[in-house]
């Protein structure tokens, strides 16, 4: 609609010079993070309350509670994960971009100019350099609160049972305590061990390591094959570090946390598959290399 009068239109609020909407988003995320960490116990209490609610619905089975709760968390963070994948893809596409590669070569010794050119390309192509990390940052309070929430709810120790009493909001949990921590023959409050041929095998921890390996491998973006494709090297390292780290964690801590890791890994693969981002070839021996060769 045209302005009927000749009066000037109300002026739009202008951001200070050098201040983009991205900067505003970043400040917003930091503010959310600060608020969440300042009231971290509130986040934990909220999660425990939801878990206890699910626990009652599913007939007081804490294993199923953890699985459903993990699904719920995945659904809530789905848009953030999707945005993260999108951001990562855009950044990777840029690495393959001929113009960007030329610029990198041209200004290899002038870092300042290189940074300016990089920002120009970001602007021109509508790439948000924080597009892949901001959604991850927003999820941190959830992830940080999740593990203590599960630990308190399982209640294997005096302090966790006591914390449970003050953490559950809106209801009296007297009749529920202690929560039933048995699931598939395991005590979710203890590290799991299964006797196989007389040997005590940490089957669940091994499952955590295997699913983490598959999750990392399958969700690894295809290599660009570029000379400076450090991202591929980083991802390769992750496929080793992450399973090993989570294995040692799972061997020593409550099986309930391992159930969470396994569920989370499977759901992550499912989400990537639904978005068409799973690279099944990565599972094949030399799969990554053969993709590189095809590109070449």
């Amino acid at each position: 609609m045209k302005n009927p009068s000749n009066q000037p239109q109300a002026q739009q609020p202008q951001l200070p010079e050098g201040f983009s909407t991205e900067s505003l988003k970043m400040i917003g995320v930091v503010a959310i993070l600060v608020l969440a960490f300042m009231n971290f116990q509130v986040v934990i209490d909220f999660m425990i309350t939801i878990m206890v609610f699910i626990y009652q619905i599913v007939g007081q089975n804490f294993g199923i509670t953890i699985i459903l709760f993990t699904i719920l968390i995945r659904l809530i963070t789905w848009p953030l994960n999707a945005q993260q994948m999108k951001g990562a893809k855009a950044m990777q596409d840029m690495q393959n971009d001929k113009e960007w590669q030329t610029i990198q070569k041209k200004y290899a010794k002038d870092r300042e100019k290189l940074a300016q050119e990089q920002m120009r390309i970001y602007r021109e192509r509508g790439i948000n350099p924080f597009g892949s990390c901001l959604p991850t940052l927003i999820q941190f309070p959830i992830l940080f609160a999740l593990i203590p929430s599960i630990t308190y709810a399982i209640g294997s120790y005096p302090l966790s049972v006591l914390k449970l009493s003050t953490s559950v909001l809106f209801q009296d949990i007297t009749s529920l305590v202690p929560l039933n921590s048995k699931f598939l023959g395991m005590d979710l409050g203890l590290p799991e061990r299964t006797l196989i041929f007389g040997l005590s095998i940490p089957v669940l921890a091994l499952t955590v390591a295997i699913t983490t390996y598959f999750q990392t491998k399958l969700t690894m973006p295809p290599s660009t094959g570029g000379a400076n494709d450090q991202a591929a090297a980083t991802n390769q390292m992750m496929t080793i570090y992450m399973p090993v780290m989570l294995y040692f964690f799972s061997v020593n801590y409550a099986a309930g946390l391992s159930v969470y890791f396994v569920t989370s890994n499977i759901l992550s693969i499912v989400q990537y598959a639904m978005m068409g981002k799973v690279n099944w070839r990565n599972l094949l021996p030399g799969g990554q290399k053969s993709q590189d060769q095809k590109k070449k």
Binding site: L143, P148, S156, L159, P178
Partner: protein
């Protein structure tokens, strides 16, 4: 370089994330034998001289990530000190304090231990355990009961292990299953009237076994979990508080029981017995006094202190000392229930542990503060602390 930093940052972040569940799992355990005080706190159990707070010994000599100690150590009549681990290794230890080396103990770090294990170095060895018991499958949350040269050791795996005090050999294992077949988590220290041994479970049950034959005499279910132990009143009845917010009275012979006092919050600690009176607190911060003789509360209204009460009150001549989560220790007048702050906390430390008294000293253990243990005189004045000098 940036990518490497990214990986390191990510791994650090992941480690931080995973460390979310590695905080304290329980509060320190505290006990005294009249000459020494024993403190179970995390990776170590310490023994201090009551006189000046100097450390007699600590066990183990080197921290192990698989061992954690929080239950009250038990000083047995034969001189052994017994305590169990709530860590990944579910070991029950009987330590002989006379076997600790005199003077400075040589410290051996993890790398040295590794070299020793592969024969490239020699590490000093101190064998201070009289015996160890590795037969349990879960945490040792409860303290043990020593009676007639036997150790009655309840475990969170739902078994009561009866061991020989001198050798640690297993005499009998009694499994306490719940109605659904699941194990009863035994968290409370057993108590005895000489004829029976009474046990409480987090899974809402109370048991009595014959002290001679070890046969289960009775089992009763309550409507709430019982994280603490039971107490035997001067009337010979058994009293236990539960998370169902009730003090329950049991006939020791038959197990017949009834609630005798309703509370505002969960009852966590074991009631303290003082003649005909019982004293106990609840998680909402209320303190109660119950007369077992006339079956009525001594005070018209329970006092509300400033924070959660999980500890058993400490009975003295004229008053009862009560520790609250805030770190404050309150003095409750036995006669009328009036109270005052006896010793103020430092705003950081949490006093979940039951204080103990010996001679002229009262010992208080704290969680999450600069000093874990403080010895105070009868007026609440600090005499010494651990760590010393704080």
């Amino acid at each position: 370089m940036q990518k490497k930093l990214l990986i390191i940052g990510f791994l650090l972040l992941a480690a931080l994330l995973l460390s979310g569940c590695t905080g304290s799992t329980a509060w320190p355990g505290l006990a005294t034998d009249g000459e020494n005080v024993y403190l179970a706190n995390g990776q170590f159990v310490h023994s201090f001289s009551l006189k000046d707070g100097s450390q007699n010994w600590q066990y183990p000599l080197q921290a192990s990530k698989n061992l954690l100690f929080y239950s009250n150590p038990v000083a047995a009549p034969n001189g052994l000190v017994i305590f169990g681990s709530v860590g990944v290794e579910h070991t029950l230890f009987a330590i002989n304090p006379t076997k600790f080396p005199q003077g400075q103990v040589q410290s051996v770090n993890g790398f040295q231990r590794f070299l020793c294990s592969i024969g490239l170095a020699t590490c000093p060895e101190y064998k201070v355990e009289e015996w160890v018991f590795n037969g349990a499958k879960d945490h040792w949350v409860a303290s043990q009961l020593v009676l007639n040269n036997k150790v009655f050791a309840p475990n969170a795996d739902g078994n009561l292990y009866i061991l020989d005090l001198n050798s640690g050999s297993l005499i009998k294992k009694i499994a306490f299953s719940g109605d659904s077949g699941s194990a009863n988590r035994l968290w409370g220290q057993p108590v005895t009237d000489g004829k029976h041994i009474f046990l409480t479970s987090l899974d809402r049950s109370v048991f009595a076994i014959d002290a001679e034959t070890y046969e289960v005499v009775w089992k009763q279910n309550l409507t709430g979990a019982i994280p603490g132990g039971a107490a035997i009143g001067s009337d010979g009845m058994l009293y236990a508080g539960s998370l169902a917010k009730q003090l329950e009275r049991f006939d020791p012979e038959t197990g017949k029981h009834e609630p005798v006092l309703n509370t505002n919050g969960w009852i966590w600690g074991t009631p303290a017995v003082d003649g005909d009176n019982l004293y106990f607190g609840d998680v909402d911060g209320y303190i109660y006094s119950y007369n077992t003789k006339d079956g009525k509360p001594n005070w018209e209204k329970p006092d509300k202190l400033d924070d959660e009460i999980t500890a058993t009150p400490l009975v003295r001549d004229n008053d009862v000392l009560v520790a609250t989560k805030s770190g404050n220790i309150y003095s409750i007048n036995k006669a009328d229930g009036t109270f005052k702050v006896w010793r103020e906390g430092d705003k950081k430390g949490k006093a979940y542990t039951t204080p103990v008294a010996s001679g002229d000293l009262v010992l208080v253990a704290y969680l999450e503060t600069d000093y874990i243990l403080v010895a105070v005189d009868q007026n609440g004045n600090k005499q010494w602390t651990y760590p010393l000098g704080k």
